[in-house]
Amino acid sequence: MAADDRRRAPAGGVATDPLRLESVSKTYPGTDKPAVEGVDLLIQPGEFFSLLGPSGSGKTTTLRMIAGFERPTAGRVLLGDDEITAKPPHKRPIHTVFQNYALFPHMDVRQNVAYPLRMAGVGKAEIGQRVDEFLERVSVAEFAKRMPHQLSGGQRQRVALARALVPQPELVLLDEPLGALDLKLRQEMQVILQHLQREVGITFVYVTHDQGEALAMSDHIAIMADGRVHQVGQPEDVYSRPATTFVARFVGSTTLLECERRQDGRVYAGDLPVEVADPPPDRHFHLSVRPEALRLGADAASCDNQVEGVVEEAIYQGSDVQLRIRAAGHLVKARGPVGAFNAGERAGVGWNVVDAVAIPPSDAPEPSEDVARKGR
């Protein structure tokens, strides 16, 4: 697998078995529409794997089936060679960091972290030692005697993390663990999580609707919508070679041009003839052009594709300006230097064929525009 060069050698790693989901589906009783449909996933030991998707995409249901809280209606879950599809959660070497932390309110921090070890029948002395180690690792040692309600959200989060990590499971599942934290704390926790994952060498399966988070932290990302997996790949893969238009729109920002091959063999986006590097055999397909691939003004002149447009919107972003340019009937999303382009002005837009990606039509149903935006 191409991913191997990216994978870090885990220090004292404990994860040895890959986790496999084979055509897993889940339909909740009393509903017709499956929450998860035909999901195939391979998660390598020791990697940071993200399930990315908007709410209702089935990512949390998938996670809950890996944890054992839900039984798949079809398909199998395998850890190494063991089929664990029907195993109850307490018999799986898998631990979860819950979205609302789910710390035991009647136990202090130390007792919370010691709990899984107690249940595993680990000796007192060893419990003490390992709890100390992990409290230190997530920097909550000074709060060891506090009760959960005396902690801040970030502290609870770290205690929940320690509780999941301390029994050294094969897998740790994280269900939108940073959802309730403010931006600054989120960014801090992202770094902590990544470092921690590398140190302990445990496979992380991370559920998030935040594409930035997934891109920044993951070895591999599975992008889900409407209960299906649209694409699995490394962050660079899914960003630069989106498999479906949904992925293109959901991960990062992009301009999607509806393209058609006409009788003359040339490709047109509306009335605009475009050059495409390796167009798919289909008559209709999409072309995804990232904002950073677009050249503006004088720079556009040297590009393979060029079009004249009018700036409709220029939104100041600090380091640069986000632009919406109307060109040949299309609304193009671009980024430009501060002050160079203003609303109402004319601007040349261009891109090179290598910087655009053709997306063939897919059989996966396209989620509505609404759903694709929800995650933002």
Binding site: H90, T96, P116, M119, Q150
Partner: protein, 307 residues
């Protein structure tokens, strides 16, 4: 610009302070007056009267207002009182224990496994509370009596040939009936708390490797214990001072301390002695409640509660 210019003058007429704001002045205590009157009239006054009677002297022509400890001496020295006090204590603790053993698991099962029907199920358990206490106790006479349902059942099934009178008129009958009476109280108390334990805590325990039983022991029980103890206390208090149930189903061997207190006020017409008995009962009861309250200590806060 002078400093005075900084002061902002209110534009237009000053808004009238709301009722709450006005009360917040020096008059807030007024709000407590109805409660104070109620507590003074319904709780403190009767108990002061009772306390006074217990230290007054009973004479043939009526109660003399001389202070004496004679009534308490009689209470403490009486073998009958000691026996009945002990019996009442055992019956009350027994009934409360039995009611808890039935109601707590019941509440657990209802909350965990009845899904959207749990409220309906809970309603069924507490519905007997709408029926008069006397009726609920009396109905047991129909069940346990010589011509009762139990005897009828045992005779028709051939287990016994003659109707038996052992089921009624015993301390066991009192304990059984009071267990029945107490169940909704423990249930209600346990149900409200169990219902507030979030599903994620059960999942977290499962996730941490705890079996269902260990989850119950290490998570559910410690969290719900205070509520269960409250329910236990309710039943204990209800039973300990009761004189109606012993009267109806207890017979002679099922007499409790409340019975002789009633007799002292009634037939014996010895109010000071009755008052001393009542006060003694309250003291014993409070001692037990005090010990039980040690089990109430709670260090945690559940979701949705304020610290």
């Amino acid at each position: 610009m002078t400093e005075a210019a900084v002061t902002v003058e209110p534009a237009g007429p000053v808004a009238r302070p709301s009722l709450g704001e006005r009360i917040r002045g020096g008059w807030r205590w007024l709000l407590a007056v109805p409660a104070i009157i109620w507590i003074a009239a319904a709780v403190i006054a009767p108990n002061v009267v009772l306390l006074l009677y217990s230290v007054w002297e009973n004479q043939i022509f009526g109660v003399q207002h001389n202070l004496t400890l004679h009534n308490y001496e009689t209470v403490v020295q009486s073998d009958t009182v000691r026996t009945l006090m002990l019996r009442s204590l055992l019956i009350a603790l027994g009934a409360a224990t039995m009611a808890t053993l039935v109601a707590f698991p019941l509440a657990y099962v209802v909350v965990r496994y009845f899904g959207k029907y749990k409220f309906f199920a809970a309603l069924l358990v507490i519905v007997p509370l709408w029926v008069s206490f006397l009726m609920r106790v009396f109905s047991w006479k129909i069940i346990l009596g010589e011509n009762g349902i139990l005897n009828g059942f045992l005779q028709t099934t051939g287990i016994i040939s003659e109707p038996s009178s052992v089921f009624l008129y015993s301390p066991w009958a009192v304990a059984l009936v009071m267990t029945y009476v107490g169940i909704p109280y423990v249930f209600l108390s346990a149900y409200t708390l169990l219902d507030r334990i979030p599903e994620s805590l059960y999942e977290a325990a499962d996730d941490c490797g705890a079996s269902q039983w260990r989850t119950f022991r290490t998570v559910v029980w410690p969290i719900s214990r205070p509520a269960v103890v409250i329910g236990f206390m309710l039943v204990f208090v209800l039973v300990f001072g009761d004189y109606v149930t012993p009267e109806l189903v207890g017979g002679f061997s099922g007499t409790m301390v409340g019975t002789i207190a009633v007799q002292a006020f009634g037939g014996l017409n010895n109010w000071p002695y009755g008052a001393a008995l009542a006060i003694s009962t309250v003291v014993v009861s409070l001692t037990v409640l005090g010990l039980l309250s040690l089990l109430l200590r709670k260090r945690y806060v559940l979701e949705g509660e304020t610290a």
